[in-house]
Symmetry: C2
Subunit: 413 residues, 2 copies
């Protein structure tokens, strides 16, 4: 008995038949006595269809008009799910982002939620209705329709769960939960029953793909109990919550990998105050997302800076650097393609020295060259040649005892 | 120089290519120095696609959820047209019904507009923008998305033109204007340059199909100068405005016809106070639209009542009568299918006695049996056998001197 927030992704509501199946699942929860708030994405590929229409008109559609266009996708799916519940004899009501009281920044395409006024949702719940809210969207203070950008619907769900103080927030997707490694790469990978917010955050950032980091951050901040599970089976999913270290007994919870990495080295920059700031602000201004950064100085005057970017951003990053060479003041740029990033994640690492050393040992044993290393309290990442990714992930999964029992995944992306 | 409101129907924005063509037409007006407010319908058959999805879920979708679903169609087209104008170098902004300040009754599927707050539109016009508004939709006082029902986008356009005191309201459609008769039936039919609101209202009600009667009524009430014209040619259309009779010199402006008519006769009802009221309220409650009504009494106690309905409504009307026979207290019901309604319309009739007599003479000469007659100040309608419709329309068109010069059509429906 309580309030459950459920989010269903585009695949889960991809056809009328699937929408009817989602209705059945909601009804089962309703019959068990729960109040239900549902957040939906747009149906299957419908967002892509809308994007294609826009692209037919202009290569650079205005972000405001894209928001106007794309938010129709979720509006369609919420109306249809509400009809499905009616048809099955249950009271339900669909609400757009603005009707649900979701206020965002006045930015288009990637607004952050500023505030949720749950008055309307509470009133509908009090009437015994299932409340179905369009994910991914909100309204700005000036009355504009906005979207939350990538991972938007997950973020809508977590923010609503926080605002409504829901007992849990279930994220339905096309995988059964969070795994110790990508099952496609590591057949011995197993689904984790539980994982901490911090671990999930590292995994999300590392390309696990199950949850967007934004939604995990929001869940952590507001202590929302998240559950990741499959919309196609009745299987229990993975709980993402505050897990005390001692309970898990794990040092490493999962092995993540990201196959599409490129490394750029800016050679011969003047080692002055503000050098790094100028370089990375220039890249950020041009929307180049930088991941691992390493600075190495050979002498006191000149420094080399290496960093990784998504393989798809390499060309744009190199162009940006070339255009700003005079202003940034460096000698030349080197780059390397065909790399991947393999990471081990676990909150148990904090109290276990030598975890990184063990990782380097395993990789060396397999004759895998480490190109870059980056660490945090609960993660160690190594950049390696992409053709050795699978070997690295499998070896690490075995070395950290994840091949048996309880263990986290991670879809490479 | 002035403010022009233009409405483009679904066919006019049916493809990306047509949307780009609409953008060009708007630009031509903008370049001529006009402020432009555009009202759009949903693209081509997109509304039908949405209806089909709803019908796959339930035969009786909730009207509120249908409004939620269908209003996405216009939201898509306005976003795309705005992008098209941007692409061509012009500033534009799309607005949903609620963003445009269109408040309606709290009814779904067929709400009437209560009020328009043009503040936002005016502000955008002051910024030099083309303002593109989603037709057919509004918002109720309780924050629900509503639709205006049939002819909704025309009504949106006229209401906005009235609210903004626009110089004219152009309705773009797939015909060149209002004709003296349906050109498919009468080759000699010609396009009218001008027609009065009252004449247009009769023609709209008679199934002319060019404009919905609601929009014409609104135009008459607020003295909005309407223009009906083709979105595919540069041809001047037909002006619908207050035309002094003397100016036109016409007695009859057009010959309209409606092919799909059925006649029902309720035989042997008790001739008591409230008999008619009970009968037609029962039909209205079951959403049967009744057109011509004739009551004939044979003796003082019992009366027969004949009326016409759209052929498609016949079965439902007969079912409704059968179910309520005991309560309504009649003896039996007769009906006749395969009928049509032919009408002559003209504000000149008021001052010209004998117009109806002339109509009866022409039909008699052609051996056409008149089953029912209905008249108003500016219209005479006769119900006749449907297979003689074309003969009747052509003979009347000739008899009233419409085959030459200026003259109104009227698409049969």
């Amino acid at each position: 008995m309580g309030l459950i927030v459920q989010k269903y992704g585009g695949t889960s509501v991809g056809t009328i038949e699937r929408i009817l199946r989602v209705a059945d699942r909601i009804i089962a929860n309703k019959e068990a006595g729960h109040d239900m708030v549902i957040i939906l994405s747009a149906m299957g590929k419908s967002t892509d269809v809308l994007i294609d229409m826009a692209k037919e008109i202009t290569p650079y559609p205005s972000e405001r008009e894209m928001d106007m266009l794309l938010t129709t996708g979720e509006q369609v799916s919420i109306a249809l799910l509400s009809m499905a519940l009616h048809q099955k004899g249950y009271d339900a009501i669909s609400l757009t982002g603005w009707q649900a009281g979701i206020t965002t920044e006045s930015i288009h395409g990637r607004a952050r939620i500023k505030e949720i006024d749950p008055t309307r949702i509470r009133a509908e719940l009090d009437r015994g209705r299932v409340v179905i809210v369009a994910g991914f969207q909100g309204i700005s203070d000036t009355g504009e329709i906005t979207t939350l950008g990538r991972g938007g619907s997950d973020t809508s769900a977590v923010a609503l769960a926080a605002s409504l103080q829901a007992d849990k927030c279930e994220i339905f997707t096309d995988v059964a939960g969070v795994y110790t490694a990508d099952p496609r790469v590591v057949p011995a990978a197993s689904k984790l029953d539980r994982i901490s917010y911090d671990e999930m955050l590292e995994l999300a950032n590392l390309g696990a793909g199950v949850l967007h980091p934004r939604s995990v951050e929001a869940a952590k901040k507001y202590k929302v109990k998240l559950v990741v599970r499959s919309s196609f089976t009745a299987e229990e999913g993975t709980y993402v919550e505050e897990v005390p270290d001692m309970e898990t007994g794990r040092v490493v919870s999962g092995v993540a990998h990201d196959d599409e990495v490129a490394k750029i080295t800016v050679v011969g920059m003047a080692a002055k105050v503000g050098t790094l700031s100028r370089l990375f602000n220039t890249l950020a201004d041009h929307r180049v997302n930088v991941d691992i950064i390493i600075q190495s100085s050979y002498d006191s005057d000149v420094t080399n800076i290496s960093f990784t970017v998504a393989a798809g951003d390499l060309k744009h990053a190199l162009d940006t650097l070339a255009k700003n060479q005079a202003e940034l003041g460096f000698e030349k740029v080197d780059y390397e393609e065909g790399l991947s990033k393999v990471s081990i994640v676990g909150s148990g690492m904090v109290n276990n020295p030598g975890v990184a050393a063990e990782m380097f040992r395993v990789l060396a044993e397999e004759q895998i060259t480490i190109k870059m290393v980056s660490t945090s309290d609960i993660k160690v990442s190594c950049v390696i040649p992409a053709d050795l990714t699978e070997l690295a992930v499998r070896s690490l999964h075995t070395a950290y005892g994840l091949d048996v029992a309880e263990t986290a995944v991670v879809h490479g992306s």
